[in-house]
């Protein structure tokens, strides 16, 4: 039983990483109806920016805030320059655009900051949390920040005018335009917010996986799995999905014989496929009904 509790705790700790990433994935999916395959790379780039700011002697929390602003603006700029012109293009062209963005961001980050692995500081410290060896204060802090972010997003979408406008623009663009919402800018705003959330995710993840241009490859896939499990239309679902994927991954590694580290990834992927087949809308997502 102790083994079980420990594995669940460890699962929640890794799950927090996936939850962060899944939240960013869901944000942008809500805004533009596409999965951004370059999301992880954008988050990685933001993390590098914050690292650079700290190298220049700026304090952690100032660097953190500054990075959020830069990422927010960066996300909007990317949308205005590259993806607004593609809004009417076929879905496939958009996916190709995301892949191109992925290649550009990854390569530029490699050129500026090279591919060596860098240490990244944490404001929470890394001593054991409440005497448990499995979960460190950083991981506890990460879970805390994720939950805080979730509450903030909930308040934003439910109780502010602009949050309401964004929801309207995402679910019924035509009608939203008719009541005077600038839907085009709502999309840009969605990009900015997703980019900023990605930056938070990157900054929280970096102390665990270390900072390098390819740090997000694996995380993004788990982030997708988490988002799909929770439902691509629900931020709460994404966070829940993140924790579940983390726990599931750890328990499968412990209790199913023959599943070592090498099979953890295929298991996450099998989870994606199973969820998609059994309940395509995810745990908390809205089902989508098609009309002829």
């Amino acid at each position: 039983m102790e083994l079980f509790t420990n594995q669940v705790l460890a699962g929640i700790a890794t799950g927090a990483i996936y939850a962060c990433m899944a939240l960013a994935v869901v944000m942008i999916y809500q805004a533009i109806d596409h999965l951004n395959f370059a999301q992880g790379e954008m988050a990685m780039f933001s993390t590098f920016i914050s690292w650079q700011l700290m190298q220049w002697g700026i304090a952690y929390w100032w660097a953190f805030l500054l990075t959020l602003v830069i990422s927010f603006v960066g996300g909007i700029v990317i949308e205005r320059l590259l993806f607004k012109p593609l809004a009417k293009a076929p879905v496939l062209t958009n996916v190709a655009g995301f892949i191109a963005l992925f290649a550009v961001v990854n390569s530029v980050a490699g050129l500026i900051w090279d591919f060596t692995i860098k240490q990244y500081p944490t404001p929470f410290g890394s001593s054991p949390f409440l005497g448990s060896q499995l979960i460190s204060t950083h991981q506890a802090g990460m879970i805390g920040v994720t939950l805080l972010l979730l509450v903030a997003l909930y308040v934003f979408f439910q109780f502010t005018r602009i949050g309401l406008a964004m929801r309207a623009a995402a679910s019924l663009p035509e009608s939203a335009r008719l009541v005077g919402i600038n839907t085009s800018w709502m999309i840009a705003l969605g990009w900015g917010m997703a980019s900023a959330i990605g930056a938070i995710a990157g900054i929280l993840i970096a102390p665990v996986v270390f900072l390098e241009p390819n740090m997000m490859g694996g995380v993004l896939i788990y982030g997708f799995a988490a988002a799909v499990l929770g439902g691509l239309t629900s931020p709460l679902g994404a966070v829940l999905g993140g924790f579940l994927v983390g726990i599931f991954e750890n328990l499968a590694g412990t209790y199913i014989p023959g599943v070592g580290n090498e099979l953890k990834l295929p298991i996450a992927l099998a989870l994606i496929i199973t969820v998609l087949v059994v309940k395509p809308a995810g745990l908390l997502g809205r089902p989508i009904v098609k009309r002829v």
Binding site: L86, L92, A103, I221
Partner: protein, 337 residues
């Protein structure tokens, strides 16, 4: 629980391509064929090898084109089928000592079955969800090939070495050139078969599903059957391409068939023009040569250069090579007048 349901009128994922517009005219086809037959006589072995790879990737892109351009289903997992085909050929040649040419139809059949089986769960998915599920398959494939209990057959991380066949009947040509012509014959055969498939009753069923699934099923098209069939055919052709690829490269290893390959094939299709079969070869040329060009422009920034080139292509010609072909045709017909 209040059932909040989202009702959408979904635009078709892929733009409708009329079936005549999916192929080349007879005259143009013959010119292209002539060029493909004669070119190897004048170039070095390494370039012949690259042309062979061009045909092989062209086949794989063509397979994806049948799936996406024909039946409107996404796939980011073609590398998985390619890997299964390559390993089937390699294992049959090296462990069972089978003739290389005979392994290809077997690779095709196994991949057809695999694709058909994978198409069953994929039936319930569309658009971005299907892209995700196939993406997952592609990411998992290298890990599955490295598994301990298949290591005896697959060679684990090390992979398998495949012997390159000699030209038969004492034909006076090198291994590379023989393999090129061998691949060319298979490619042409599959191309003609694909064109005919899309013009047939089944092809019309694919396109009806692509343009409007509900309407197609109302007209009596067995949507489930034809969607899985499209997956099967696409996987089968990709499997043959994979088998040929294994023979040409003389080597199979799990890390040659990562998600990068699947993404390349996808890009090849977009660049070549979705639903335009001859574009497959243009797309294949893009994914083989453009990374090299990017590397030669700047070593450190090759990824960025590749990305920028890709952006330029999708901004200038969002419909890929098909768009260029149509414009060229219009210009030509003006000259004729």
């Amino acid at each position: 629980m209040s059932a909040v349901e989202e009702v959408v009128t979904e635009a078709p994922a892929v733009e409708a391509v009329p079936k005549r517009a999916m192929t080349l005219g007879l005259g143009t086809s013959l010119v292209v064929l002539g060029a493909l037959v004669l070119a190897p006589l004048f170039v070095k072995n390494f370039i012949i090898f690259q042309m062979t790879m061009l045909l092989i990737y062209g086949l794989a892109v063509l397979a994806l084109n049948i799936l996406t351009g024909g039946s409107g289903q996404f796939s980011l997992g073609q590398s998985a089928f390619y890997a299964v085909g390559a390993y089937t050929s390699a294992i049959l040649m090296e462990h069972a000592g089978m003739n290389y040419a005979l392994t290809l139809p077997i690779a095709g059949l196994i991949c057809f079955a695999f694709g058909f089986a994978f198409g069953q769960p994929a039936l319930r998915l569309s658009g971005i969800y299907l892209a995700l599920a196939t993406f997952a398959l592609a990411v998992a494939m290298p890990q599955l090939l490295k598994l301990h209990f298949v290591e005896h057959w697959t060679g684990g991380v090390q992979g398998l070495v495949v012997t390159k066949p000699d030209a038969p009947f004492g034909l006076p040509m090198g291994q590379d050139m023989w393999l090129y012509y061998f691949t060319l014959v298979i490619t042409i055969g599959i191309y003609i078969a694909s064109v005919n498939l899309l013009r047939s009753r089944s092809g019309r069923a694919f396109m009806a599903i692509r343009d409007n699934e509900i309407a197609a099923s109302a007209m009596g098209v067995d949507v489930a059957l034809y969607k899985t069939l499209a997956f099967g055919v696409s996987a089968g052709i990709t499997g043959v391409a994979g088998g040929l690829g294994a023979i040409a490269v003389q080597f199979v290893a799990p890390d040659s068939y990562t998600i990068t390959l699947a993404i390349s094939l996808f890009l090849g299709m977009v660049v070549g023009g979705v639903g335009w079969l001859p574009g497959s070869i243009v797309g294949a040329a893009f994914i083989i040569f453009v990374p090299n060009i990017a590397e030669s422009i700047s070593k450190g920034l090759s990824g960025a250069v590749f990305g920028v080139l890709l952006f330029i292509v999708i901004f200038l010609v969002p419909h890929g090579a098909r768009q260029i072909a149509i414009v060229a045709q219009q210009v030509l017909s003006k000259f004729k007048k």
